[in-house]
Amino acid sequence: MSTSAHTASSSPASSSSSHSSDHQLSPELQLRIHELMLEARVLEERLITMYRQGDGYFWIGGPGEEAFNVPLGLLVDKGTGVEHDYLHLHYRSSATLLAMGADPVDALRQMKNTATDPYSRGRNFAGHYSARKWNVVPVSSPIEVQYSIAPGTAMAQRATQSKGITIVTGGDAGTAEGDFATCLVWSSRKGSELPMLILVTNNQYGISTPFEGQHGEERISDRGKAFGMPTATIDGNDVETSWFALKKAMDYVRTERKPYLLEAMVSRLNGHSSASGANFVANEVDCLARFEKKLEERKLRTRAEMDEMRARMTQELLEASKRVREEPQPKPESIWDYVFADKNYVAGEK
């Protein structure tokens, strides 16, 4: 496995980002972000363990995207309806949900496919969130469809002249699908531009196929230039770079009501999914370790404190997973629930 192009120093980010770590966040915010990143990482580790112990059928998630996804969740204007931001996320977005205030135990429920899983009542894989109260539209397994659907919520925001924006995210491999082109075309029509923050988290893999095997373009963000939208490729493994790049892009979209394409170079620390073993990949940049080193250097948190936090969170989620194991599984007849929104009509009902 080649990862030579994947370190922060050789990624396009280091040369193109207008924001780097010379922008520093307040100590309180740094500590809050660290706590959320840690919580997200520990959550993913717990989910992987649950999978391995037979408490789930499949794992897919986002270890390696926390430095980017936590700032995203904190910067979102969270709420219900067009006045707030819509999020069209992918299945590596746990850290964003936690940053928005989701209960990590609910993610365990989805992993264990219990009837209490609030996101899908035992119907969908882990990491497939849905939260209407926060405008998080259901995450689906196809890697690209959100890029075709997101212009719709943005169009509603445009039509109602709301202050909300639409945020869509996907991976680098998904941009090979036509839906990504759809997103660029529909969001940038002259006189009908849409308030969309188009995100790509580039981990340089599509399952097992390396980036170079799928892409001729140097940077995915360059595709936005043809549509006249501002673009950037940044080091998504750096918390502060991510924060300021997201802030800048969101401010632009919020103010100008036009699209912005932001590509974040990230890591994929446990492979694509449980199908490839979900083992930790030691030769990619670990954004959490990197941020923790920074916090130590800045004397904001000691190694011992961080170790203690991690141990405590790990223990809490271990205990929670034991409780979740005892929660009821969905009843067989529940397959007929929620087929239609007006009533549970089914063809052939007696």
Binding site: Y119, S148, A150, G152, T153, A156, A347
Partner: protein, 354 residues
Amino acid sequence: MATMIQAIRMALHVGEERLGVTDIFGEDVGPPLGGAFTATQNLKTAWNSPLDERGIVGMAIGLALAGRRPVAEIQFCDYAFNTIDLLKIAGNTYWASAGDWNVPMVMMTPVGAGIRGSIYHSHSFDAQATRTPGWKIVMPSNPRDAYGLMLSAIVDPNPVMFLKPKALLRTKALPGEEIPGEPADLKTLSKMIDAPVGESRSRWKPEWPRLEELYVPIGKARTARAGRDVTVLTYGRNVPMSVSAADELAKEGVEVEVIDLRSLHPYDWDAIKASVQKTHRVLCVNEDTEVTNFGEHLIRRLVEELFYELYAPPKLLAGAHVPGIGLADNLEHASVPHKDGIKSALRELARHEP
């Protein structure tokens, strides 16, 4: 007395004026064309989309998620095949999110043969549509039902697919198929709502009749013709064709009952059952290709649930299972059901004794 295309246009007008429709869009749906068949002429919320069917369906889903009321058009159903995974998402979003998000959108698309449309303007979509759970599927056979089904589709909280039988779009309503509030005379109506061709069009404004709301319930069939000997289960273009075949057979002493399903999903099993228990003989007619056809589903259920009621093996008359519908008249004719074929099948069924 409207044509079906005028009826659809009037329903969309009522939709945007009174029922909260916010966006009527698709390829050439907005001005200047107002739709390839003029279904969306002079509607205030109609707009042109890029030529991107996946984008159209995605846009409709997104608008619906954000609380808008979209009616999206795919110009011909032949071009909806690359949207199937998005149609799947529209259909599964409410279910997958366990009731968190519903998708109140309408997708309309012209279907079927009958206009010499060759390989890419003649396809049917009912087999595909009914294989997409989570959608309601409707298909009118006359202007009044088109109007009433469209209003029901617009107010439905689920995704509803409105299949427009292409061959019937310009046919006039029959007595009894009036839309409440429309002028009785087709010429008068046409003058009021059909835009003139040519340069004067841009300055022209429609004068909409004072239409009343009429809701044809989704899931309810209509007996298009009553009879005691054989039941035809059909929809869309094949309804008037089957009624005409039945009228001719009546002269031979065979009384055929024609059930116009109107809704393919949910479908009106009670109406189907009642008719079959009366006639004991069934013919399903539709234009989609015959392998894995919606009529096959109806026959399977009839055989399972009403086997001992049947006096003859149920029969399906459907499109030939060939990759396309050829352009030449002979080819199109040989590919989809026609009145003569329906008559022969009905005669055969009527004669059959157990």
